[in-house]
Amino acid sequence: MYTNTSRLHRFAMSAAILLNMSVVAVAQQFKANSIVIEQPWIRATPGGAKVAGAYMTITNTGSEPDRLIGGVLPQAGRFEIHQMKMDGNVMQMGEVQGGLEIKPGQKIEFNPNGYHVMLMDLREPFKQGDILKGQLRFEKAGAVDIEYRVEGVGAQGPQQHSH
């Protein structure tokens, strides 16, 4: 009896883990054409903030270059592709002109200290744990629906939620 329960318990646990992992994998990867978008996330906003950064990893698995040209997030009035750089002690911000090319085989990681989506004119605050639906637009792959997970105010990367 004891062994049976324990076996059943173990089975249930493994099933739950597998299920959980597959859900996470589905939720964190989005594909269109040869473009793969992984782990989109947004930083939670401090009070009164009208801007937020959105980040993800974009891979071009095809043999043709593609280009991220924009996107939509209903909660933001503006969606722009920016790049942050440090020049000595000075933080520099700038718009990426003409969209961002992703070469065949290239993987571009968006993060707070590099390329990022600058969400502006926010209509509501973003709270840690929120899931936000949005869209990225590519020259060839077209519009891709994605889901962002909102991480902490000072998060430097997406949390691993497969536990």
């Binding site: 930083r43 002690n89 933080m91 700038g94 200290n113 990022h116 502006m120 000072g154």
Partner: protein
């Protein structure tokens, strides 16, 4: 006699010239050294701004305690919230010891960062962080005093973002510059600097 006199005049003139040259050289070196020293000491200085409660303040209000001075703006997606969160975590870790410290977040964007906007923004961070704004000329004067570079970067669809110095100036209780904390410095380095500043033992 005349010959000796002429020689004496020549030697005298040469001596005077030598003294003048040496004095000039010494003076130049002295000024140069002094200039260098003054330059470091120059970081910081008087300012007259408005805090996030709407109260007029000057640099003198923050004397008597060491002060961290960080410049940023609230339309900043990364460096400013990251730095304020790092400071918040450090202050929480210090606990009551952090009451012996002033932390100032001075906007480089007084047009958009009113005291009310700073109050909203800072409500997400440690309440011991004070936000300062004010008339643009007063904010620029504070930026100059702290050697802060900031520049508006226009965006294609209108509006602007800003480049700015991301370093925190560490001032002692007399308002003298003592150290800098750099963006993305390891947490342990910042912790050690704060402990030194507050005269706490090594952690």
């Amino acid at each position: 006699m005349r010959k000796i006199g002429q020689n004496a005049v020549r030697i005298g003139a040469a001596l005077v010239a030598l003294i003048l040259v040496s004095a000039t050289l010494l003076g130049w070196v002295y000024l140069r050294d002094d200039g260098g020293v003054t330059k470091v000491a120059e970081i910081g200085g008087p300012f007259a701004l408005v805090d996030h409660h709407g109260k007029s303040v000057t640099d003198r209000d923050y004397l008597g305690k060491p002060t961290l001075v960080f410049f940023g703006f609230t339309n900043c997606p990364n460096v400013c919230p990251s730095t304020l969160l790092e400071i918040t975590n450090q202050l929480e870790e210090l606990g009551p010891d952090a009451d012996r410290l002033n932390v100032l977040f001075i906007t480089v964007d007084p047009e958009r960062d009113t005291p009310q906007q700073l109050a909203l923004y800072l409500s997400s961070f440690d309440p011991r962080i004070t936000g300062l704004s004010g008339a643009p000329e007063n904010v620029f004067a504070a930026m100059n005093a702290y050697h802060i570079y900031a520049k508006k970067v226009p965006l294609n669809d209108g509006g602007y973002t800003m480049d700015h110095t991301a370093t925190i100036a560490v001032m002692n209780g007399k308002g003298q510059y003592v150290d800098a904390m750099h963006y993305q410095a390891p947490t342990a380095t910042t912790r050690a600097k704060l402990h030194r500043l507050l005269g706490l033992g090594n952690s």
